[in-house]
């Protein structure tokens, strides 16, 4: 299926998934700051 897709579409999808990964990391960092004790 991907053979028919343009380069632009593939790069767009990769960027979108990278955004998901980044958002996951940011959420985990924010949660860890709240949940872990300050001297962890």
């Amino acid at each position: 299926m991907s053979e028919n897709r343009s380069k632009k579409a593939v790069i767009g999808e990769l960027l979108a998934w990278f955004g998901v990964a980044l958002a996951t990391a940011v959420i985990l960092v924010a949660l860890s700051e709240k949940l872990l004790p300050s001297s962890f």
Partner: protein, 210 residues
């Protein structure tokens, strides 16, 4: 099939996010702390000396560093430790380095402060320093390696004071025993225990010897 493919990509992305989080926690935070320590070293070098009266060490009440500002320098030769201790044990303070447990005053609120008088190195009382074990430069990563007799040296703006480790202890996280003051001139170092866990607290006691 389309949904399975989407779900697979989602899992891979979230997995990458978890790896990024681990990388930031273990290494990225250390880079941040290292930069902060460089600034604190420069700031500490420029801070004016604190004049105290001869005889028993009593730091003037006017010496009240702001949260996150340099309090004194701590050296522990046994574990090759040499960092600036900042004032306060709040999250932001400990991101910069080990923190000196303050008395409750503007800028320091419960439970991250004590109602007892704030104790400084050299004084007759308990100086409490808390630090990260595994993140933000992991200043107290090797605190468990300290043995009785090891030296803990504090360089302050009113002199240098050497302590000697007397004992180590492991307590529950909610134990407040170390915050209780006494007349013994000592320094208490605390961190999470075991490494990569917050289940307990490791406490190292050291008595003033010089």
């Amino acid at each position: 099939m389309r949904y399975v493919r989407f779900f697979g990509k989602l899992l891979i992305s979230v997995g990458c996010g978890v790896l990024m989080f681990v990388a930031w926690t273990l290494w990225g935070t250390g880079i941040y702390t290292s930069q902060q320590q460089n600034q604190l070293q420069a700031q500490f070098a420029h801070d004016p000396p604190v004049v105290i009266e001869a005889g028993e060490v009593k730091v003037p009440d006017s010496f009240q560093p702001e949260p996150g500002h340099p309090a004194f320098k701590l050296r522990i030769p046994r574990i090759d430790f040499d960092q600036i201790v900042v004032e306060g044990v709040g999250i932001d303070d400990l991101h910069k380095g080990p923190g000196h447990y303050p008395s409750c005053r503007p800028g320091f609120d419960h439970p991250l402060c004590t109602e007892f008088d704030e104790m400084w190195p050299g004084e007759n009382g308990r100086v409490i320093v808390s630090g990260h074990r595994t993140t933000y430069g992991a200043p107290f990563y090797n605190l468990d390696k300290l043995k009785p007799g090891d030296k803990v040296i504090t360089e302050t703006k009113w002199g240098e004071f050497t302590y000697e480790v007397t004992q180590t202890d492991i307590v529950q996280p909610d134990s407040l025993a170390i915050a209780i003051q006494n007349d013994t001139a000592e320094i208490v170092l605390t961190t999470c225990n075991p490494r990569f866990s917050a289940a307990q607290r490791l406490i190292v006691y050291a008595k003033l010897v010089a």
